[in-house]
Symmetry: C2
Subunit: 572 residues, 2 copies
């Protein structure tokens, strides 16, 4: 069995892993992303038997071996494309070292020298905020207000950035280094420069990941489902479900796990996993989508900041657990108690923390929970298996119809509060600003945090630039809208919108319901006789339509990148 599974993975990988690097080209992220320097080593590791030998994965593997059946029809052309693109990846990797060098490693002669103690005196606004990084000293007082990570940067005030950037290695990119150099005011005395040591690896002991996942960042791990896999099943298999981690994955013991509930009109109560399992067990199918899904398309003409997701930062699963309202009720929650209250929020904290102890956090307005149609689930199963470590073991909150960033994993606390979560992911990160706003001009308070997401659609069966045989071509993909809105229609155009054909869609939308939490999968047979640009768009039950292109929805973070998906197919 092990050998079979292993070979199915091997057949699977070549087709799905590398093509995105060639089709997407150079990634357009300048802030949060980092091309993983150790990808090829790691991939080899995952492909080894050590991974497949793990018993906890054997069921998933079976599921995937079925998936692999479809993908197994590997052509020689496909294999050659893979060989070519893996070597591209290797070349790219070879250009980078774990610690990139830059001006911060150089002494700039026109600038003064400072000692570590002098830097240490500048730890707050009144004395200016200084930090050091390698040989550079920087006055970041003005930068604090626009730092996407919020006031977290103040942890390094008066000291060195190095230990923090070890934890948030997304900073270790030349683009970030360039921004930093804008604030350079001096050089650190040579005796105070300590050669970067191998810091504690906060990411040690993280779970192994399926080799089919396309790595978008390594620390924290972020992996994308190859879009071609998404249309294989209505429920995306756990092992290839996209992973979006913001911090190191916490190691949680199910036996000692506790969920704390507290806040306005509630009795502070603690629940074990067993306690949670005593509540009525309910299941919902729900699509979870990263706010950055399809970001690379938006970034094609104008740089955006963030991980270079194509269309696979989305997945649909069966989530099983207790209704959040049921658990809240046992802590005294009575919806009517909030009727005349001012707007309140339900905050969710994760067990994933940075070295200051600050955790990942998010919130939704309480009004969502008071909505009788909303299904918030304290999920402990994903597709009928215990929730995998990468997806929040042992318990995550699943908030259907809402951007993935709010469905906090490794959930430690739920509280009802007068204020939103103050985490940077709520206050700064997952917000969409006007096309004319940049990181330099942004007023973070000017946009609300993303909650429900607009209608989107994607062609999964083909990549931009694919060559196809003249004649009938079967296109496949997904379409999804947030807020419980179902998909009314998916339309395909082969002539840039002059005519549209309606695709067949799965019967997974109930347009008479306001609880359409799942995507639809669609397919369309088209007749390709010449090179063609294929457009797909979807219409949701609020009759919202996607914008035709990205020009006017562009935002510097590349979020909610939901214009028509357009690919070019070459006919042969």
């Amino acid at each position: 069995m092990k050998t079979i599974l292993c070979s199915s993975y091997r057949v699977c990988s070549p087709l799905v892993l590398p093509s995105w690097y060639t089709s997407v080209g150079v990634e357009t992220n300048f802030y949060y992303d980092r091309r993983n320097a150790r990808e090829s080593q790691r991939r080899k590791f995952h492909q080894s038997r050590e991974y497949h030998g793990q018993s906890r994965n054997s069921k998933n593997n079976l599921e995937l071996s079925r998936l692999g059946g479809t993908i197994g029809a590997l052509t020689i052309a496909g294999y050659l494309a893979w060989k070519k693109s893996t070597s591209n990846v290797a070349q790219l990797d070879a250009k980078k070292t774990p610690h990139e060098t830059g001006k911060h490693d150089q002494v700039l002669k026109h600038l003064p020298h400072f000692s570590r103690n002098q830097v240490a005196e500048h730890y707050d606004d009144s004395r200016r905020i200084w930090v050091s990084f390698r040989r550079g000293v920087y006055d970041v007082t003005e930068f604090v207000a626009v730092h996407p990570g919020g006031s977290r940067i103040l942890m390094a005030a008066g000291g060195s950035l190095e230990p923090f950037w070890e934890l948030y290695p997304v900073h270790q990119k030349s683009d970030v280094f360039q921004i930093l150099e804008k604030y350079r005011i001096g050089n650190l005395n040579e005796e105070d420069v300590v050669e970067a040591q191998e810091a504690v690896d906060h990411f040690k002991g993280e779970p192994m990941r399926h080799p089919a996942l396309i790595r978008r960042a390594d620390k924290p791990f972020n992996g994308e489902t190859p879009p071609s896999l998404l249309t294989e099943k209505f429920h995306t298999p756990n092992d290839v479900f996209y992973v979006r981690n913001h911090l190191p994955v916490p190691q949680v013991d199910a036996k000692t796990y506790r969920l704390e509930i507290d806040g306005i009109n509630l009795t502070e109560t603690t629940f074990s996993l067993q306690d949670i399992k005593k509540f009525p067990k309910v299941s919902i199918s729900a699509t979870i989508q990263c706010g950055g899904n399809r970001r690379t398309e938006m970034g094609k003409d104008k740089v955006v900041a963030g991980l270079g997701w194509t269309g696979g930062a989305i997945g649909n699963a069966k989530w099983t657990g207790a209704r959040l309202v049921d658990v809240l009720r046992s802590a005294g929650f009575k919806p009517e108690a909030y009727k005349h209250a001012k707007q309140l929020h339900v905050k969710f904290d994760g067990l994933d923390t940075d070295q200051s102890g600050e955790c990942y956090g998010a919130s939704v307005p309480l009004s969502y929970l008071l909505d009788g149609n909303f299904d918030a689930i304290l999920a402990y199963e994903m597709n009928d298996k215990p929730i995998p470590i990468d997806h929040g073991f042992p318990v995550r909150i699943v908030l259907p119809g809402i951007v993935g960033a709010r469905s906090v994993k490794w959930l430690s606390r739920v509280s009802i509060s007068e204020e939103e979560s103050q985490s940077p992911w709520q206050q700064r990160d997952y917000k969409v600003f006007s096309p004319s706003v940049s990181l330099e001009t942004v007023d973070f308070s000017a946009a609300p945090p993303i909650m429900d997401t607009p209608v989107t659609s994607y062609i999964c069966s083909h990549n931009n630039g694919d060559k196809v045989k003249k004649g009938p071509v079967k296109l496949q993909g997904y379409a999804f809208s947030g807020g419980g809105r179902g998909i009314v229609r998916v339309e395909i155009s082969l002539d840039k919108g002059k005519t549209w054909n309606v695709a067949r869609i799965s019967d997974t939308a109930n347009l008479e319901s306001t609880k359409n939490w799942s995507w639809v999968l669609w397919e369309a047979n088209v007749n390709i006789q010449a090179n063609a640009e294929i457009w797909v768009k979807a219409v949701d039950s609020g009759y919202n339509q996607q914008p035709e292109d990205f020009n006017n929805i562009w935002n510097y973070r590349g979020l909610l990148s939901t214009a028509y998906h357009k690919i070019y197919l070459e006919a042969r």
Copy 2:
């Protein structure tokens, strides 16, 4: 007082009434619309003291006289523009007669003759369906399936269309006559042709309408609010609130009025107006928008069917009455009783009927009502006054966030049913199809009835083609989204999307609420130094964006015409 009011109207009218005729140009409707032949006479009538003398309007008049204060600054240029455009209207009117002639008045020599009795034999599918109209005999068997009014056409099977078209005068248009002639199979014997008599006027005794309303159809009455009035007040005054009637306005006596409640899991119960007023009195502010609002823009490049609304088929009011769920509860409604039922519908019938007794009707999925956040109101007041006759006196249902067509006026019955309303307005009319679908190819079952509506925005302060002085210009307008979604942002571009400026919006959106039933009003100061195309777009709290143009959302009925609003301003 009368004189003052009268003069305020007179000052008001020139600015607001006629400009639309010139700026919109020839209307693009071929089916439902009819330019009113008697407009100028009627306007004279409304401007007479007889109208203003009516005591029931005196409070509204006061409200409007305040409005008039702003508008009252009538310039000579404005007056001349008005003179010019009113004479345009008169010319257009003069070209039409109440009964247009056409081929149906002619004997076509190459076709056979039939008697009235022969026509009468063809009254169902098995014998083919024939109708006569003036001198023509038509086989409409194939047309029945695509008739926008549904099977209603069968009322005329085997007989003459004339009496029916008297009630639905929207048919009396050359475009409709042309469609009819496609089905011509013969001539009616001359002795059976009866000269059209003055039929019963089903529209006699309808309420008088404010002269500021721009008439889009006369029988049934459809009047648009001049967009320039919409931004004057957050709550649109009753008298100038757009009117969308589908049938003659019923005369209802408040004393004998009864509302019937029945259906699945309910005890059949009848309520008088006084009974309804005994329930807790609640008020909501809610925008009601016609599905055809802004239709003329969509029809600019490719003909659409429907009344030629510009951006004024929308209004926002304070609606006061009883919660529908409260009244239903007293008839035995228990939300939990429906939890495991298949999808049900709440049907609404109006007292407005055609001569067959069939009433206006609509329905919404029951899931909306089970949603704790949804505010369905049995409204008996509109802006703190009894609901005006044109808006559903004594009781209408107000379904906020949902297309206006479902907020049934003159409500006679609410029932919970396994099926949707079977009215043509639910089954055929207010549905949006793919751009490639025409009335000839439509499958009415392929699209769901419109419920919540997509985000839209509109510039009310200026018309396309307006001349403005170089320098600062203040733009004003509204933005609205359905489904309780609030408006996050309104953006203005003067350079076709290259750059965007964020407009100031009224603080009427609460983005932490899922109950944003009202529009926002916005304003933006721009600096016009040369001729400019102004674009406006809005973003809602689901971060839905409007499409940039109408090409790919075009639908043959011209519904949900929500692309960016674009106007051209000439700088002088």
